[in-house]
Symmetry: C2
Subunit: 598 residues, 2 copies
């Protein structure tokens, strides 16, 4: 079989020559960014051929690659099917991502469903040959034992510790083990997964771990992953489940090793995630989430045996999945609304989680109404010509003045791309300095004086205008298409915002607080959000950043059986408004696309 050697990773694998290079790389755990999921449209999955031959350049590659790239041997991996031994270089580095693991949390009383109690089990005798199950039932005052618990046990007598989930016995341990009782709180995002190991006796977070969601190899966003399921009906559900379960197992192992804790003493894993991620986690068909009328298979909370989906912890450990409201208002948003106490608000509070989807929840004195807007991946730095996720080397802020362009780069490195907050800041600046007009179009370069400081910042690629952030060593541009991406995000979120207020009949000035949640939201400054008009100027002073409220909600569910119940009630009571089905939405959306130069 021919081989592929990846130069900088010193990694080699053999392959059967019938798949494209991107597929081969992903299958062999070599990550290559591919926002379009290998459809040959984004032009991102670049590699450089160092040795060996690849088939000739295709039409599509010629269109998507620059001349100098083609000369340098750069190819789009999804568009070439290798046939022989090759040596290649991956052009994107797996970089350290900034993942947010903390955030706001209200005070609450610890009262976890999981708890331990000490008992004494008597030994059977010839006169009383009582079965272990009957002994356990008598000792713990229960009617019957979970048979899987019996399957684990040899006879056990004397002092024992019973592990309970609410009133259900889920484990029996010899001796007094009350001091060892741990749980895990998890936020599964489409892009990142954040886990925290919790000492359930104290509520302390002993450690955290996070990683890029490994399901990325099946598609960057929810819809491409759902497409993957449609295209691979036989295996995809299992593959997606396996990928996320493995990732969680790895992170739990890391945290346990670091805290020197036995994973057998983890008795519950509480997970918040969007509705699609939750379906994938349980191996449930999610394809209907991707098509009208967007009905999911389930939204209710799930309390199941963690082991049943392959999670490794105590054999009887529980998996608690927080409830969703609808396909596009997932448990992550329910968690956030709960953490922000929207259900108890005595005012008007708006909650926004900004990501590929922007989810908005309005609390009108505790009455909850939500909607979801397809913001697109621009605010996450994706589908942007020089875009990247928030990682080392990403431009995260931009200021443009007569003196030039000032940029803030994550990790203080040489910039290699621009992340969501950076693109937003840049667009805000371009609007402010009137390089971008109200309708989102670049101004014509010829309308500027050559002495204007903006003149040299604009370049023409054929008839397309581009803004040059940086000329060398690699050019970093903001293209007209990039601006359109941001504009779509702005239109989607702002129109959702207005539609929700209108439906609830609340005037914008009556909003008391706007809470910004989520991984990406926390990187988007009030200046940028308001400056680009994603949110109206009026609420600028009312913004509160709450961080990863999804993980916090999972933590609260873990640490309080009351929180679980309240979260379920909250999900049940939250109304959902389908924007596409609301009257006059198309016109509102068109209006919201416009930039306002203040």
């Amino acid at each position: 079989m021919p081989k592929i050697f990846i130069e900088q990773q010193n990694k080699m694998f053999e392959y059967v020559p019938n798949k494209n290079l991107l597929q081969l790389l992903l299958e062999n755990e070599v990550f290559v960014d591919n926002p379009c999921n290998g459809k040959g449209s984004c032009g991102k999955c670049k590699i450089r051929l160092l040795e060996g031959n690849l088939p000739d350049l295709s039409e599509t590659e010629r269109k998507l690659l620059k001349k100098e790239e083609m000369n340098a041997g750069i190819r789009l991996s999804c568009l070439v099917v290798p046939q022989e031994d090759i040596v290649i270089e991956i052009l994107q580095k797996e970089r350290k991502h900034e993942i947010l693991t903390t955030g706001y949390m209200p005070d609450f009383d610890f009262n976890p469903a999981i708890h331990k109690e000490i008992f004494e089990i008597k030994k059977p005798t010839l006169e009383n040959q009582i079965s272990l199950e009957d002994s356990i039932c008598n000792t713990f005052g229960i009617e019957k034992c979970d048979w899987k618990l019996l399957q684990q046990h040899e006879m056990i007598y004397g002092k024992v510790t019973g592990v309970f989930n609410g009133e259900d016995l889920i484990g029996i341990e010899a001796g007094d083990t009350k001091k060892n009782i741990y749980g895990v709180a998890i936020d599964i995002g489409t892009t990142t997964v954040v886990t925290a190991l919790i000492d359930m006796n104290t509520g302390n977070e002993l450690g955290t771990a996070s990683m890029i969601n490994p399901q990325k190899k099946f598609g960057m966003d929810v819809l491409t992953r759902i497409s993957y399921v449609l295209e691979h009906p036989k295996d995809a559900k299992e593959e997606l489940k396996h990928a996320i379960v493995n990732a969680i197992n790895e992170m739990i192992e890391d945290m346990c090793n670091q805290s020197k804790i036995d994973r057998k003493n983890i008795y519950e894993i509480a997970i918040a995630a969007n509705c699609t991620m939750m379906h994938f986690l349980l191996g449930v068909d999610a394809t209907d989430i991707g098509k009208s009328p967007y009905a999911p298979v389930f939204v209710k909370s799930k309390n199941i045996r963690a082991n049943d989906i392959g999670l490794k912890a105590h054999v009887g450990a529980r998996l608690y999945c927080l409830p969703s409201v609808s396909s596009y208002i997932g448990a992550d948003i329910v968690a956030g609304a709960y953490v922000c106490e929207l259900h108890r608000a005595s005012k008007n509070i708006l909650f926004i989680d900004i990501g590929t989807n922007g989810e908005i929840v309005l609390s009108n004195h505790g009455k909850l109404l939500s909607c979801s807007c397809a913001a697109g991946p621009a605010l996450e730095g994706m589908n942007i010509s020089s875009g990247m996720r928030a990682a080392e080397g990403a431009i995260e802020d931009v200021k443009i003045t007569e003196n030039g362009i000032e940029m803030k780069v994550i990790g203080n490195e040489e910039p290699i791309g621009i992340c969501g907050s950076g693109i937003l800041a840049a667009v805000k600046e371009l609007v402010r300095i009137a390089v971008i007009k109200k309708d989102g179009a670049f101004i014509k370069k010829e309308k500027l004086e050559e002495t204007d400081y903006r003149y040299d910042m604009i370049q023409l690629d054929g008839r397309k205008r581009e803004f040059v952030l940086k000329r060398s060593p690699e050019k970093l541009l903001i293209t007209q298409a990039d601006v359109r991406q941001v504009q779509l995000a702005k239109g989607a979120i702002l129109s959702g915002f207005y539609a929700l207020l209108k439906r609830a009949n609340i005037d914008m000035h009556k909003l008391d607080k706007v809470m910004i949640a989520g991984q990406f939201g926390s990187h988007l400054s009030a200046d940028s959000l308001v400056g680009t008009g994603i949110l109206p100027e009026e609420i600028k002073d009312k913004l509160v950043y709450v961080g990863n409220s999804s993980k916090t909600g999972a933590y609260m569910a873990l640490m309080s059986i009351d929180a679980k119940q309240q979260i379920e009630e909250l999900a049940h009571q939250m109304d959902y408004m389908e924007l596409g089905a609301s009257e006059g939405y198309e016109r509102l959306f068109a209006q919201c696309l416009l930039f306002t130069n203040r």
Copy 2:
């Protein structure tokens, strides 16, 4: 690797030369009878070497084999470790066993836990994006769905059939599938497994299948299988479970193929078995059943997902395990007692299941008391010098008169051994014609006249006396040791019988009925049972044979949710008396060992 070729099966396999020949044969699914479980004591695992070499005869083989056997190349497979290519002949044939699948059953009303109902599930719309789970809950009036049911489903709408286990929804099928609803009733014996495929709409038995319990390769009886678990703590539980689950799956497949039924329409499997077999089935540790104070891990009924132990049927199909009373009064006896309506008896009824263990249940006007006696395998034709199980070629009845020995052979073949009913009949005859004395010893040959018809029937092997049933082509003998085995069985059962009556304070003459259950019991004639004194003369006319009441009990549980409940109550109410712990038992046992020549 060297090879072993089995002549008459035309089967060949390779092996790593470090195990004994018996192990190698069993591992490769070549069955060799080995009542002592390869311990080198029973001398039963004979094979004949046809080509190649084996290590020299060991001391033990010289002791256990006859001279002519050694000359003919016969070896004991558990005592030789082959090193090279050999061709061998297996000396026991896998014979068609007579397995009892039917029996007595009282009238009862069908009211199975499993049932189907037809519903209509509405399609979601953009205005009402209801989740599938919520639709199902609304439609079926339930609070939540089993998540594994959701895992199976894509969206399903319109007319559907709900499959229920009691009130729990276990399946949803498109359209009206009410006419396809099947179940399986099973009796797992230590030696044989009997299954029946049931149409749950009509209660009709569509087919049956039975086979030797494949766990036999881990030991012939309960205790040797438990020893196997002790010797292989890592894998044995899984191996034993796997063996029986596979066997059941095979039989279900056979029955389904024959009846042209899809196994996906099997929704419940009801199983009766002794307590150890039930532990093995669920992969539960059974080792404590083998040692004082003989406390099992569980006796309660189990109602679990069949799939969870690997049984293949509908994905949501249930496994119902009938309850036991104690380690040695298993669900098979509970089933039998229920089928014989002992709990409702308005008289005094005794129930006996005769096998390796003899279980006795006394119903004193519905009050139940049970005991178990270690009868040993003699009545199943095992541990007997010429013994075999009830299969073609087995002598099943014997009459001895002045005119000679008359024998009845299963399948009307040339006799090759003697099964339980045969050995019992023979001993009864030997007692009757006074070849065996009251204490069980053979009379001295020299005390007989040479003209006595019995004179030539007795031969001496050194100082040991033997009764010759048949001289050629192979000698079939009844040895003093064989008689002792029967005597032990008699002592055990009869003493249990008396002890139970004594504890209940019931005079033997007040017994109204004695019900004989079980595979082996049904082959033992009243003449033999009473003639050998296993049961007293007084009850001879009160005997009723009820057949495989264990399987019948499983069938009734399958077809009636009330039966399940009543069976559980019966098990809970049945008292158990440990004979070993009862006063004066040793003396009673000694008395019961004596034969009575009437």
